[in-house]
């Protein structure tokens, strides 16, 4: 009898500890000093953040998508089930119209919804957590200028136990740490800007890295390419291992090639990007040339990393 009590108490303790460990973190309004929004910067963050690529009303014909209508609804396939992207238009009932600034910062930095529940990391807050506070707030201000669109996306279709939001708290203990971007003082301002854009709002690693069985990026192979997170095709290695011996012509991409590619989709072979990268370039083509150059300068400086091998051609 005693033994049973002890075991029950131990289990209870473990559960309580897990419960505490997985409490969704939030950012209180008191943590936000006074700030005047910079809408131009907000638009830049919107573009490099790629918000429209997931959150705009889907259309079979990508060229017909209205980037300002963020009703959500896109289905994102994953190994865990299908996620349905939510409405982030300023609609007060179905979107973020009723959110406070602190709610929005909480979502991007902590992956916690304004109801205080964990957001699934299909929303790449693992990257957005590195965004600077002013940039997040400017982005929020910009989003609020877009048209409100009504309609909620359907609920995610996930297999058990992946649909248990509380468990994402454990995932976060393992994989969400870092906080806002830290400058490297030994590098140039351009490099730092590129490092910030790539690792923060640009969230490039989220596609260009392999993931483990829990769906987290394999840190030692960051940027080394892998299967596309939505299961369609392969995303290339963009460390020097991939970019210095590229394609059967063994071409070496220069920073200028990368910056140009992010503008018009043209690769050094004179061909034009296809597949999912076209959507990314729709975003990066809207940045300043200086920001594209900064991204390129950072990418060419990445340490060479061998990633997983793509499946053999039939």
């Amino acid at each position: 009898m005693r033994k049973l009590t002890l075991i029950a108490a131990a289990v209870g303790l473990v559960c309580a500890l897990l419960w505490v460990l997985t409490i969704p973190a939030t950012v209180p309004a008191s943590a936000l000093p006074p700030h005047t929004p910079d809408f131009d910067n907000g638009r830049t963050m919107f573009n490099i953040g790629g918000c429209a690529s997931c959150h705009a009303t889907p259309n079979k014909d990508a060229e017909k998508i209205d980037r300002t209508r963020l009703s959500g609804g896109l289905a994102l396939q994953s190994p865990f089930g299908t996620f349905y992207v939510p409405n982030i238009s300023p609609d007060p009932a179905d979107g973020i119209g009723g959110w406070s600034e602190a709610d929005f910062v909480t979502a991007l930095w902590k992956g916690t919804s304004h109801h205080g529940r964990h957001l699934f990391p299909a929303f790449p807050y693992t990257s957005y957590q590195h965004m600077e506070l002013a940039d997040v707030r400017d982005l929020f201000a910009y989003l609020k200028t877009l048209p409100p669109v009504s309609g909620r996306a359907r609920r995610h279709d996930l297999a058990f136990p992946f649909n248990v939001r509380r468990l994402v708290g454990l995932w976060k203990v393992l994989y969400l740490h870092g906080g806002p971007f830290r400058r490297d003082p030994s590098q140039s301002p351009q490099w730092n800007r590129g490092a910030y854009l790539v690792n923060g709002p640009g969230h490039c690693a989220e596609c260009h890295s392999p993931r483990n069985f829990l769906g987290a990026i394999v840190a030692s192979e960051r940027f080394a390419g892998g299967p596309s997170p939505d299961g369609k095709g392969w995303v290339p290695n963009i460390t020097p291992v991939g970019l210095q011996h590229w394609s059967k012509e063994d071409i070496a991409w220069s920073a200028k090639d990368i910056a140009g590619f992010l503008d018009d989709g043209m690769n050094p072979a004179g061909d034009f990007a296809g597949g999912a990268m076209v959507e990314t370039i729709r975003n990066t083509s809207k940045l300043d040339a200086a920001d594209r150059a900064a991204i390129a300068a950072y990418i060419v400086s990445l340490p060479p990393r061998q990633g997983p091998k793509p499946p053999p051609k039939k």
Partner: protein
């Protein structure tokens, strides 16, 4: 001299037609490869790595026009292809689900290339026309209809 040119052109035309009849997949890959080769030339001029040459600029756009005119006929039913060791690209099955849109894109590609051919006169006009075609014609179609196996 001119008769030789005509003779060679006639033979080339005949050979291309013959290949097209027998092997639309090879023929369309050849057209796209020609586009790619011209794309490299255009890219070099755009990026300032090669001096601007008006004749070369015209040839880039003329090649695109040619491809746009010939390609739609080279995608008959049941002509799906698979990536090979030499060529990671293949035609997406979506082409045959959206044949109207697919062919319309070639029509637009041809029209845009023709307009570019008529209007190009210097590096600036070339850059603008080339980038526009690359992004909207090449990129747009490749996004939907070209698959790549890395």
């Amino acid at each position: 001299m001119i008769r030789t040119v005509f003779a060679v052109a006639a033979v080339a035309l005949g050979v291309t037609a013959a290949i097209a009849q027998q092997d639309p997949i090879a023929a369309r890959k050849a057209l796209m490869k020609a586009n790619g080769d011209q794309g490299k030339i255009g890219a070099a001029m755009t990026k300032g790595e090669a001096p601007f040459d008006l004749e070369k600029a015209h040839k880039v756009f003329a090649t695109f026009e040619d491809a746009a005119a010939k390609a739609p006929a080279l995608f008959p039913e049941n002509s799906t292809d698979q990536p090979t060791a030499d060529d990671p690209y293949s035609a997406s099955p979506d082409i045959w689900q959206n044949l109207e849109d697919f062919k319309a894109r070639f029509a637009k590609f041809g029209a845009d290339a023709k307009a570019a051919d008529a209007s190009v006169k210097d590096l600036e006009s070339f850059k603008a026309a080339f980038a526009n075609i690359g992004k909207n014609n090449c990129g747009g179609c490749h996004e939907k209809y070209r698959l790549k196996k890395s």
